[in-house]
Amino acid sequence: MKFLFKGGRVIDPKNKRDERCDLLVDRGKIAQLGKNISSNGAQVIDAEGGWVVPGLIDMHVHFRQPGREDKETILSGSRAAVKGGFTSVLPMANTEPVVDNRGAVEFLLAEAKRVNLVNVFPVAAVTKALQGEELSEIGELADAGCVALSDDGKPIHNAKLMRHALEYASMFGLPIIAHEQDPTLFEGGVMHEGYTSAVLGLRGIPSVCESIMVARDIELVKFVGGKLHIAHVSHARSIELIREAKRHGLPITCETAPHYFSLTDQSVSRFDANFKMNPPLRSEEDVEAIKKALKDGTIDCIATDHAPHTEQEKDVEFDGAPFGIIGLESSLGLCLSLVHAGVLTPTELVTRMSLAPATLLGLPKGTLSVGADADITVIDPDAPWTVRSEEFESKSKNSPFVGWTLKGRAKLTMVGGRLVMRDGKITKSE
């Protein structure tokens, strides 16, 4: 099957391409780029006015399967992903049971193959059952096909264990994705510690509980090496530390999530648990630092931390609700607002959402080079649309952005040369 994308603005940061041209897909691969390619039997896709970019990659999602299929499944999560323009996702290991053994990785891969919508790259647990006590069988997990290790949701408190995890994982070239949070400073907190928490009487999570662990892990990497990727950075001081570490050439990367540059702790003021996530929404100053770091590349990529929860779990007392919000279907719209506001160029946006995660994970993705897998997203950068709860493909609706009008969204998603989403409809052709 051949597809010809006609007349779009092709943005491919890896090849420093940003120009209007046609793109031909043949047998699942990028076959040709250039002006006025003749269709020659290919299905023609009119990309006029749109951006043709390498498929978006979300390196931080929670698909809840196995264990909490009432919140999300590989199927519903994959549908949400392709609707949001994503062609590859990395589900975290904190399912029930935990992805800490070969069988669990194989289950994920088999289920993803059956669903056959989006590329699923499993993240396995650093420690057995996320207990933070003993290393998982990392070698076998690598053989089974995991691409990174993380105890996401449970920070690794034990510095000695973290040291050995970095050392051991480096034998297999796997990055450790760290949820940076000091559990003692965090204890019992439910929102950012600041003016709003003081007013609301909610227990605060101090910003330093993130940066202190970032500092520790930078020191560990300096000492033993290994690849460290810092998940969902929320705090300005963490960014300063990472910027400094990068300047010294340390192998450290990081991500942030769209809510950390779109909202502040002030929005918790109505006690709506759809604004409760971990790390928490922070201050105006943190938001500005995050935008600046996205611009200068200190923050390598944007990931959603898509964390589905049922309505009955979220619609309770604020301090009793679980942390987390869904993000796959609103991410691109929110990220495009950075482009519209002049914070990022289109090339920088595509780098943060596709090329950078592919590069830091060592995945053969994130580019439109001839011969590469035809993972392609077509973005309509200007179309206004409203986020509506009933339109989510995700099984869960826990988004703080419901009712927001965003500018720009994914128009088409192609995975491995198969058209999986077009104009909001999941198509899945062969």
């Binding site: 007013v199 009487g201 909610l202 605060g204 007392e317 009793g320």
Partner: protein, 318 residues
């Protein structure tokens, strides 16, 4: 004249100065009822008030119950040992069941900040906050305002120091909003570990020095040290707390002669307040308790009236 239009009373933070004054005026008009030989008026006859308490309380619960009964409402109390979530029923479901029994006003105390907001959003009946975690305790704030105003004749320009565990105190928050809106100058005083981090943005002076808080103050509102909320590392011991922060006669030597001492109760005598101070000439602690009933009568009356008007309007429009 301002009219009360709110379905609920959730927090003093969201009330205007005029609304607060309206509650206080209404409370003054109800105060006299409790001084009569027959302490009952038919104002809320046929209405039902449920006091749903998820935390132990004597004073507030009894005060709400008496307020309801003196207005001829039927009052009943539900004491829940632990939060219903542990039994598998959500707070919302529990409250909806109470609403379905055609109750008119739900008075709730709950350990979670914002829990009354959650119910107010999902119920048609009136919700009155009787204390939601460390957030607010609006009727306590109102009765403190009433007590100060009655004794001093005004609130504008008064210097009020709130002393103790500001971080965990719903009383401090409700007092702060009420006092600031009515023109008083507030000082928050306590150990550094018990002052919220962004304290300086709360329209109040903050200090860790008790002498400074006492000097020049017209009113001291001394908070109860809540031992259950200290989580082990906020201050070393009750002994040291008392040494540094107990309001004693010696510490009051430099205080204004007409100083008022308030305490929301229950008191830890000898910890945050010396017995001689609690029982001394400055103390208006028992007046606070008396005013508590008047303020709660006013609140029950105002929300009930607003809801009747709302219902009538709805019927007319249907």
């Amino acid at each position: 004249m301002t009219q009360w239009t709110r379905k609920d009373l959730l927090a003093l933070e969201e009330l205007s100065e005029k609304e607060i004054r309206l509650v206080l005026e209404t409370a003054y008009s109800f105060k006299e009822i409790s001084a009569r030989p027959i302490k009952k008026v038919p104002t809320l006859r046929g209405k039902t008030v449920v006091n749903l308490f998820f935390e132990p309380s004597t004073r507030t619960r009894v005060s709400f119950e008496l307020a309801a009964k003196r207005l001829s409402a039927d009052a009943m109390n539900i004491a829940v040992q632990d939060s219903s979530l542990s039994k598998g029923e959500t707070l919302k479901d529990m409250a909806r069941n109470i609403e379905a029994m055609k109750v008119d006003i739900l008075v709730m105390r709950h350990p979670s900040p914002g829990s009354c907001h959650l119910l107010a959003r999902s119920l048609k009946i009136a919700v009155v906050n009787a204390g939601d975690g460390s957030h607010e305790h609006p009727t306590q704030g109102l009765l403190d305002l009433m007590t100060i105003q009655e004794k001093k004749g005004k609130l504008e320009g008064l210097k009020v120091s709130i002393i103790g565990d500001i971080l965990h105190s719903r009383v401090a928050r409700s007092n702060l909003w009420g006092l600031v809106k009515l023109g008083a100058q507030v000082t928050l005083c306590g150990p550094k570990t018990l002052l919220p981090v962004a304290c300086e943005r709360l329209n109040a002076r903050t200090t860790c020095d008790l002498e400074e808080a006492i000097e020049g103050a017209d009113v001291l509102n001394i908070l109860r040290v809540q031992l259950e909320r200290q989580h082990g590392c906020l201050f070393p011991s009750i002994r040291e707390y008392a040494q540094k922060f107990c309001v004693t006669p010696e510490r009051l030597r430099k205080a204004k002669k007409d100083l008022l001492i308030l305490h929301p109760g229950p008191m830890n005598r000898g910890v945050e307040i010396a017995p001689e101070v609690a029982d001394g000439p400055h103390s208006v602690i028992l007046d606070q308790v008396t005013h508590g009933i008047a303020v709660r009568m006013a609140v029950l009356f105002l929300v009930s009236q607003a809801n009747s008007i709302r219902k009538e309007r709805h019927e007319v429009s249907v």
